[in-house]
């Protein structure tokens, strides 16, 4: 197929990855990156906001051509759609209320590298001990739920939220003690909470979270996938991704 225009969907309500401005236009890390990628892939791009719940079925129904919505590349998802190479790979970690006794858990500010299926990591064991009997909030159906259930499911209560934002509200309200999510997301949540929330414990990085975040495409559109993978490769290589990432996230999320 001869790609001239490509429709890319995103939620438009997941700051700072992507969000809607008051004038109705889309902004954030992904819309800006998409512009770069489309230029390099030499296609016309149309960004369309849609609801997270319906995104993947709508992609397969043909309503859009690509998804760019902080979509982690996972084995489950690979069964139904295809991915480009990742344009971001974010660490994940815990956050808690500023004045909580759980703040400043051991290892705060450090990084721990984990592989797929790895267990018995010393820092994680330490957190398990420290968070015993507490309630941890996660966003339902994310790559993090398996990790949290595997490591903390026995000793702590885990509560699943439909969105990260709901979880953050409950974290501030004191209904739960800890939240676990990607640190980039937390960074902006912490900023919005005006310092009421803080990170605690080490950031966890590595292949345990899969390959990172990539663009989702229909399985049949391998040509489109390859065009954008090339574009991402070049944007990573010349530091465009790093620049945008630091603009929006304050850190570099380029996959390493």
């Amino acid at each position: 197929k001869d790609w001239k225009t490509v429709t890319i969907t995103l939620e438009g309500a997941y700051a700072p990855w992507n969000m809607t401005n008051a004038d109705g236009t889309l902004g954030g890390f992904e819309p800006e990156l998409a512009k770069v990628l489309c230029e390099r892939a030499k296609v016309e791009c149309k960004l369309v906001a849609s609801d997270w719940d319906g995104m993947i079925p709508a992609l397969n129904a043909g309503k859009f051509d690509m998804i760019m919505d902080a979509l982690s590349i996972t084995e489950d998802r690979k069964k139904v759609i295809d991915f480009t190479i990742p344009y971001a790979a974010t660490p994940a970690g815990f956050a808690t209320a500023k004045d909580s006794p759980l703040a400043n858990a051991a290892g705060t500010g450090t990084e721990v590298h984990m592989d797929v299926g790895q267990t018995g990591v010393k820092e994680v064991e330490a957190m398990k001990e420290a968070f015993k009997g507490k309630t941890i909030g996660i966003q339902a159906a994310t790559v993090y739920s398996k990790f949290v259930y595997d490591n903390f499911g026995k000793d702590s209560t885990i509560r699943e939220y439909k969105t990260g934002a709901d979880r953050d509200l409950d974290l501030q309200n004191g209904r739960i003690d800890l939240g676990f999510d990607d640190t980039v997301y937390f960074a902006s949540a912490i900023e919005a909470a005006k310092g009421e929330l803080v990170y605690t414990g080490p950031d966890i990085v590595g292949p345990i979270w899969g390959a990172g975040e990539g663009l989702g495409v229909r399985k049949s559109d391998t040509d489109l996938r390859d065009m954008f993978s090339e574009a991402i490769k070049s944007a990573l290589a010349d530091g465009t991704v790093k620049k945008l990432s630091e603009k929006w996230f304050k850190i570099d999320v380029s996959p390493r």
Partner: protein, 232 residues
């Protein structure tokens, strides 16, 4: 058709049915009692209470349950008074909040339905009761309530079914009932149609049972409206 997947999905969804039923039965019961209180305020004759009841009904019938639930769960907890208050151990629980907001919402609707029932009681039958010396609570208990409830029953059955469906919003506040579990299954498997079809069938069966029970109740309460038994 992937029967293995369908049966696995159905089993997973069935595991959430008790949650749905608990949400449903508690909120219908509490909402019903609340509705009685509100309808009493609405028709009682005290202008202040009546205005309050009117406002209550307007707000809870006029805005989406999703927003109400969000504000009850995430909104109330914003206030330090509530967090430090005596009710916090209860309000802290997502299940309690889900039941509370479902009950608050259905109370608004049910109050209107009950009021409609009361209005359709023949003023003449009320007058007949007054004329033998009934008044106040006795009049309500013996004459108005039974007749009004019978008139209100068809609309109330509809409201009860709506309630069963409304429980599907409770996953917003982390109570994972059937629809929430279905959505979670979808975000793992991305097989929207199959999962939702299973969920749809479960709801249909639950509602069918509820409606059947209501119809039975209606039948037993309408002996006086049916054609007389034909004597041989």
């Amino acid at each position: 058709m992937d029967f293995a997947f369908l049966s696995e999905t159905t089993m997973t969804l069935l595991a959430a049915v008790p949650t749905t039923l608990a949400l449903f039965s508690l909120s219908v019961a509490i909402g019903g009692l609340l509705a009685l209180l509100i309808v009493w305020m609405r028709v009682g004759g005290n202008p202040v209470l009546s205005a309050f009841a009117k406002g209550y009904i307007f707000v809870f019938r006029g805005s989406p349950l999703l927003i109400q639930m969000f504000l009850v769960f995430y909104g109330l907890a914003q206030f330090k008074v509530i967090r430090d208050g005596p009710l916090w151990p209860l309000l802290r629980e997502p299940f309690v909040c889900a039941v509370l907001s479902l009950a608050l919402c259905t109370a608004g609707y049910s109050a209107e339905i009950f009021r409609g029932g009361i209005r359709s009681v023949s003023p003449r039958e009320i007058e007949a009761a007054r004329s033998i010396g009934m008044s106040g609570f006795l009049l309500v208990r013996r004459i108005i309530a039974p007749i009004a409830f019978r008139y209100a029953l068809p609309s109330y059955s509809t409201e009860v079914v709506l309630m069963m469906k409304s429980t599907s919003l409770a996953s917003l506040v982390t109570v994972w009932e059937v629809t929430g579990v279905a959505q979670r299954l979808i975000s793992h498997s991305y097989r929207t149609m199959e999962v939702f079809l299973c969920a749809a069938i479960i709801y249909l069966i639950l509602n069918f049972i509820v409606l059947q029970a209501m119809a039975l109740l209606e039948r037993s309460l309408s002996k006086h409206l049916r054609a007389p038994p034909v004597k041989p």
